[in-house]
C-alpha cells in the first residue's frame, strides 16, 4: 500500500503559488513604476533619448549579431571537428566557450586602453587605472587554454584507442 505523501495538498500548494505570483507581480510592477518615475524625475530628456538609444542598440547587437554569430561558429565547429569523438568534441566546444566568455569581459579593457590613451604630460591622467598588459594576458590565456585542451583531446583519443585495442584482443 502506498503511503500518502506528507506535505501540503495540491489545492493548498496551488493557492500558495497563486499568492506568491500575485505578490511578485505587484511588487515587480511597483518597482517598474518607481523606475519610470525615477527616470522622468532625475534624468533630463536629452539623456533619456540617449538611454533609449543604448537600450535599442544593445538589443539589436545582442540578438541580431552576437547570437547568430555563435550559431554560425557552432555549425562551423561541428564540421571542423567531424573526425573527433563525442567527448573530444565536447572538450573543444567547452574550451572555446570559456575562451569566448573571458574574451567578452577582457576585450573592452584593451579597447578602453586604446581610447583613453594619455594625451601628453600634465593631462591629469590617472596612472592607476588600466595599467595591465591585457592584450598579452588574453593572448597567454588563449595559448594556455589551447594547449591544455589539445592535451586533453589527445589523451582522450589515446585512451579511447587503447581501450578499443584491448577490447578487440580479449
Amino acid at each position: 500500500m502506498r503511503l500518502p505523501v506528507v506535505g501540503p495538498s495540491a489545492p493548498a500548494r496551488r493557492r500558495t503559488v497563486w499568492w506568491v505570483r500575485a505578490a511578485l507581480g505587484v511588487l515587480g510592477l511597483a518597482a517598474l513604476g518607481y523606475a519610470i518615475f525615477g527616470f522622468l524625475a532625475n534624468v533630463p530628456p536629452v539623456q533619456l533619448i540617449g538611454v533609449a538609444a543604448w537600450l535599442a542598440v544593445a538589443l539589436l547587437v545582442h540578438d541580431g549579431v552576437l547570437v547568430p554569430l555563435t550559431t554560425l561558429a557552432g555549425g562551423g565547429l561541428s564540421r571542423l571537428t567531424y573526425g573527433l569523438g563525442p567527448v573530444q568534441q565536447g572538450i573543444v566546444r567547452g574550451a572555446l566557450l570559456v575562451g569566448a566568455l573571458v574574451t567578452l569581459v577582457a576585450a573592452p579593457l584593451i579597447r578602453a586602453q586604446q581610447v583613453l590613451e594619455p594625451s601628453g604630460p600634465g593631462s591629469g591622467v590617472n596612472g592607476t587605472v588600466l595599467q595591465g598588459d591585457y592584450a598579452l594576458a588574453l593572448g597567454v590565456f588563449w595559448v594556455v587554454l589551447a594547449v591544455a585542451s589539445a592535451a586533453v583531446v589527445a589523451a582522450v583519443g589515446l585512451y579511447g584507442r587503447r581501450s578499443k585495442v584491448r577490447k578487440t584482443r580479449s
Binding site: R21, L32, Y34, A58, G90, V102, G122, N126
Partner: protein, 394 residues
C-alpha cells in the same frame, strides 16, 4: 519564420537549462541590486539610515561583491539569453494583448540588463562613452531590472516550478510527450542530446561555470587582497600608485595642485559662531593616531593602508561641537560629488575616523589629498574627501 527558427535550434536548449541558468542569474542580479542599493543609501542617506562603522572592511566587502557579481553576471546573462533565443523568433510574434505586453516587458528586461552590465563594467575602467549620467542611469536601470525580474518570475512561475528539480523536469517532459504537447518533441530531444556533438547540458553548464569562474577569479583581485595574485583582467591593481595606493582622481584632474601646495594653507574648523584655523604644523602637533583602514571605491577596487592623523572628534572638541553633530567637509576641489561631503555623527564620533596627514609612514602624496584628507571606516571612497580645507558643523 519557423524555418529560420529551425536554424537556431539546438538540442542543448531546454526549459531545464533555462531554469538552471535563470536561478544563478536571478541570484546574481539580486545580490547586485542589494549591494548597489546599500552603496547608494550610504552616499545619499535618507533620514532613517543607520550607519555601521564596523567591520572596517564592510564597504570593501559589499562593493567588491557588487562589482564582482556584476562581472560574473556577464557570462551568465549571455548563456541565459542564448538558452531562450528561439523564443525571439516564435511565429506569430504577437498572439494577444497579454502576449504583446509580456514580450514588451521582456524586451525591456533584456535591454536593461545588457546595458546595465555593460556600463557597470566600463565604469570600472573610468570610460564613459555614453551620452548620459552613469550614476543616475545605473541606479534607475537597477530598479527596472529588479522589477522586471520579479514580474518575469511571477509570469513564468508554473514553468520554473515544473523544471525546478531534475525529477520535476523529467515528470513534466513525460506529461508533455504523453499529451502530445507542442514542445514535446524538442524537449525530449534536449534530455537525450544527440550523440554527434558530445555536448550535453551538463557539458554546457560545466563550460559556463568554468567561464564564469575564470572571469571572477581573474578580476576579483582588484577588490579582495587574497585574490590579487590572479588579477589579470581587472581595471585596477592593488599596491600600485603613489605610496602603493591607487587613485580615483588625481590632483591634476581635480585642479587643486596650486591650492594644495600653497604654504599659507590652513584648515578651518567651525561650529556655529566658534571658528578656529590650524596650520599643517599645528595639526601635526595635536595627538596623532594611526590605523590600518581600507579605502574602497564605488568602482569596486579597494586597498588596505596605514593612515596617521588627527581624530575628527578631537578636532570637533576644539570648537566645542556637540557629539551628535553632522559635519560638512569641504575640499579645495570645487563642485561635483568630490567638492564636499557630509559626515554623520556615527563616523565623526568613531575613534578611527581621521583627518589623515600621513599614508603608509610618509606625508600624504599630493594625489592622495595632501595636505589633509578624510579617512573613515566602512565608507565609500568618494566620501573620503581629499585636499580638505574646511570642517563645519551643520
Amino acid at each position: 519564420m519557423e524555418a529560420v527558427n529551425g536554424r537556431f535550434s539546438s538540442p542543448l536548449r531546454s526549459r531545464r537549462l533555462t531554469v538552471v541558468l535563470g536561478r544563478w542569474l536571478g541570484l546574481a542580479f539580486t545580490v547586485c541590486f542589494l549591494t548597489g542599493l546599500f552603496s547608494h543609501l550610504l552616499q545619499d542617506p535618507p533620514a532613517w539610515m543607520f550607519f555601521l562603522t564596523r567591520p572596517v572592511w564592510l564597504y570593501v566587502a559589499t562593493q567588491g561583491i557588487h562589482v564582482t557579481t556584476g562581472i560574473a553576471s556577464i557570462p551568465l546573462l549571455a548563456a541565459k539569453l542564448w538558452s531562450v533565443y528561439p523564443e525571439l523568433l516564435r511565429w506569430p510574434p504577437l498572439k494577444s494583448v497579454v502576449h504583446s505586453l509580456e514580450r514588451v516587458s521582456i524586451a525591456l528586461f533584456v535591454a536593461s540588463s545588457l546595458v546595465e552590465v555593460t556600463i557597470g563594467l566600463l565604469n570600472t575602467f573610468q570610460w564613459y562613452p555614453w551620452p548620459f549620467s552613469f550614476r543616475d542611469v545605473h541606479y534607475w536601470l537597477a530598479w527596472v531590472i529588479i522589477g522586471s525580474l520579479a514580474l518575469h518570475i511571477a509570469v513564468k512561475m508554473p514553468l520554473i516550478l515544473a523544471h525546478w528539480s531534475r525529477r520535476a523536469d523529467e515528470a513534466a517532459i513525460a506529461a508533455d510527450t504523453e499529451g502530445g504537447g507542442p514542445d514535446g518533441k524538442t524537449v525530449t530531444a534536449a534530455v537525450k542530446p544527440g550523440p554527434g556533438h558530445g555536448w550535453s547540458r551538463r557539458g554546457f553548464l560545466t563550460a559556463i561555470t568554468a567561464g564564469t569562474g575564470v572571469v571572477v577569479l581573474t578580476t576579483a583581485g582588484q577588490s579582495f587582497a587574497w585574490l590579487s595574485g590572479l588579477n589579470l583582467f581587472a581595471a585596477r591593481r592593488m599596491d600600485t600608485g603613489p605610496q602603493a595606493v591607487p587613485i580615483n582622481r588625481t590632483a591634476a584632474q581635480a585642479g587643486v595642485a596650486d591650492a594644495a601646495l600653497a604654504p599659507d594653507w590652513v584648515l578651518t574648523v567651525s561650529s556655529g559662531p566658534v571658528q578656529k584655523t590650524f596650520t599643517l604644523a599645528q595639526l601635526a602637533a595635536l595627538p596623532q593616531y594611526s590605523y590600518g583602514l581600507p579605502i574602497a571605491c564605488v568602482e569596486g577596487w579597494s586597498q588596505g593602508a596605514q593612515w596617521r592623523g588627527v581624530r575628527i572628534r578631537d578636532l570637533m572638541a576644539t570648537v566645542g561641537a556637540p557629539a551628535d553633530a553632522e559635519l560638512q567637509i569641504s575640499s579645495m576641489e570645487k563642485g561635483g560629488v568630490y567638492g564636499r561631503s557630509f559626515m554623520p555623527a556615527a563616523y565623526s564620533q568613531d575613534e578611527q575616523t581621521l583627518l589623515a596627514l600621513e599614508l603608509n609612514g610618509e606625508p600624504l602624496d599630493l594625489d592622495h589629498g595632501y595636505p589633509a584628507r578624510i579617512i573613515a571606516p566602512g565608507r565609500p571612497g568618494v566620501l573620503q574627501t581629499k585636499w580638505v580645507h574646511k570642517v563645519e558643523v551643520i
